[in-house]
C-alpha cells in the first residue's frame, strides 16, 4: 500500500479540522468544562477561544516565514538541534498521551452507551485497525474522507442540536455568570489546550497547497468550531440543567439517546454511523500526526511502516486504566493542565526566537 504524497487543498484541510475539533462536542470535553464553570461553561469556551487566538496567530506568523517547513523543522531551525529535538519529543509525548486518552474515551463511549455486550478490547482493536488503515493511506485520503463525511456529520449534529433546543428550557442558562467570574477565568486558563490541536496542525502545514490556504483554512475552521462548541454547550445546559449535566459523562450521547423525533424513538441510530466514521477519521489523523512527527524526529522517511507498532502501543496503553468513568476524566484533566500553558507559551516563544534570528526581516527583504 503506497501513501499519497500529494498536498491537500483548503477544502480537505478545513474538513479535517472541523471533524477533529468539532467532534470534541461529542466526547467528555463539555463535562470537563461544566464541572468547574457550571452553566456558564459556554462563556468559558468563548474565553478559551479568545485566549487561544493569541498562540494561533503567533504560530501563523512563524509559519508565514517558514512556508516549506513543518513544526519539527521549524523547532530545529529556531531552537537548534538539541533543544529543537527535545521540544519536538516533548510535543510528541504529550500529543501521543492525549491521543491514547482520546481513543480510550471513545471506546468507553461506544462500549458503555451503544455496544454494551461487546468486549472493550474487541472494540478497541476494531477502531485502531480502521484508523491504522486510514493513517497508512496518508493525509490526502484522510482529507478526502473527512470532506465526504463532513456534510452528513454536521447536518445530523445540527438536527440533534435543533431538536434538543426545542425540548430545553432557556431559563437554565441563568445566572449567566454561573459560579462567578473567577471560576470561569480558572476554567478558561486550565482548559486552554482544548484547541492545542492547532499547534499539532503545524506538522502538516507544508502539506497544505499554499500558506495562504493554510492560514485561511485555520482561521475559518477555528471560528466555525468555536461557534459549534459554544452552541452545543448552551444547548446541553438548557436541555439537562447544570446540576445533572455535571454528572453526565458524555452529554452529546445522552442528548441523542434522550431525543425522539415524532414517531422515531431511537434517533441515535441515525447519528451513530456518522459519528463513528468521524471518530475513525479523527484518530486516523491523530495517528498520522504522531507517526509523522516521530518520523521527523528520527529522520525516518517511510514512517508509514510505524503505524502497526503504534497501534499495538496505543491499544495496550489505552486498556490500562481501570474504572474508566473515574480515571479517564482525571487523566484528561491532567493532560489538559500540562498542555494548556505549553500551548500558550510555545508559539510565542517560537515567534520571539524567529524575531531574534531576524527571520521576519529576511522575509520582508526577500519579498521587496
Amino acid at each position: 500500500m503506497k501513501q499519497n504524497e500529494g498536498k491537500i487543498g483548503i477544502r480537505d484541510y478545513m474538513a479535517i479540522i472541523l471533524l477533529t475539533l468539532g467532534s470534541k462536542v461529542s466526547d467528555d470535553t463539555p463535562t470537563l468544562l461544566y464541572k468547574t464553570a457550571k452553566n456558564s461553561a459556554w462563556i468559558s469556551m468563548l474565553g478559551i477561544a479568545l485566549l487561544s487566538l493569541i498562540p494561533i496567530l503567533f504560530l501563523l506568523k512563524v509559519f508565514s516565514v517558514h512556508r516549506n517547513k513543518n513544526l519539527h523543522e521549524i523547532n530545529l531551525h529556531l531552537f537548534g538541534k538539541v533543544m529543537g529535538n527535545l521540544i519536538s519529543m516533548g510535543v510528541l509525548l504529550l500529543g501521543f498521551s492525549s491521543f491514547v486518552l482520546d481513543t480510550s474515551v471513545y471506546v468507553d463511549i461506544i462500549g458503555s452507551m451503544y455496544f454494551t455486550r461487546t468486549p472493550t478490547l474487541a472494540l478497541y482493536i476494531l477502531m485502531l485497525v480502521v484508523c491504522g488503515y486510514g493513517a497508512k493511506r496518508g493525509i490526502e485520503s484522510i482529507g478526502s474522507a473527512a470532506w465526504l463525511t463532513l456534510f452528513y456529520l454536521k447536518a445530523t449534529l445540527f438536527l440533534a442540536l435543533i431538536f434538543a433546543f426545542t425540548k430545553g428550557n432557556l431559563k437554565f442558562i441563568f445566572p449567566l455568570w454561573g459560579p462567578g467570574t473567577l471560576e470561569i477565568a480558572k476554567t478558561t486558563g486550565s482548559k486552554l489546550s482544548i484547541f492545542a490541536d492547532f499547534y499539532f496542525l503545524g506538522i502538516i502545514a507544508p502539506l497544505v497547497s499554499s500558506f495562504k490556504e493554510f492560514r485561511k483554512g485555520t482561521l475559518w475552521a477555528f471560528a466555525i468550531v468555536v461557534v459549534e462548541i459554544t452552541a452545543a454547550l448552551i444547548i446541553f445546559v438548557i436541555l439537562f440543567d447544570f446540576t445533572s449535566i455535571e454528572v453526565i459523562s458524555y452529554p452529546f450521547h445522552e442528548t441523542i439517546l434522550y431525543l425522539s423525533i415524532g414517531f422515531l424513538s431511537n434517533v441515535e441510530s441515525m447519528f451513530l454511523p456518522f459519528w463513528l466514521v468521524a471518530a475513525f477519521i479523527r484518530f486516523s489523523f491523530y495517528l498520522y500526526l504522531v507517526v509523522t512527527l516521530f518520523g521527523g524526529i528520527f529522520k525516518i522517511k517511510e514512517f508509514e511502516y510505524l503505524v502497526p507498532v503504534f497501534i499495538v502501543i496505543v491499544l495496550f496503553l489505552g486498556i490500562m486504566p481501570k474504572n474508566l468513568t473515574y480515571t479517564l476524566p482525571y487523566l484528561r484533566e491532567m493532560i489538559l493542565g500540562i498542555l494548556s500553558p505549553l500551548f500558550f507559551i510555545l508559539p510565542i516563544l517560537m515567534w520571539g526566537m524567529a524575531k531574534l534570528r531576524g527571520d521576519f526581516k529576511r522575509e520582508a527583504e526577500q519579498s521587496h
Binding site: P119, L121, F294, I297, F298, K299, I300, E302, Y305, L306, P308, V309, F310, I311, V312, I313, F316, L317, I319, M320, K322
Partner: protein, 53 residues
C-alpha cells in the same frame, strides 16, 4: 483471544524489527534504535496491561 493477541503482537514485533534493520542498513542508526525501542515496548506492554489484569 489470548492466543490471537500473542500472535498479532509477535507479527507486529517481527515486522517492526525488520523495519528497524532496514533503517540500520540505510545508516540511520538512531532511527533504527528508536524503532527497535518501540518494538520492544509493543512486545512487553501486553504483559503488563492485559495478561496481568
Amino acid at each position: 483471544m489470548n492466543a490471537f493477541i500473542v500472535i498479532a503482537v509477535c507479527i507486529v514485533f517481527v515486522y517492526t524489527v525488520g523495519f528497524a534493520l532496514s533503517l540500520w542498513k540505510q545508516k540511520n542508526k538512531i532511527g533504527a534504535m528508536a524503532v527497535l525501542f518501540l518494538a520492544v515496548i509493543a512486545l512487553v506492554l501486553p504483559y503488563f496491561s492485559y495478561f496481568q489484569s
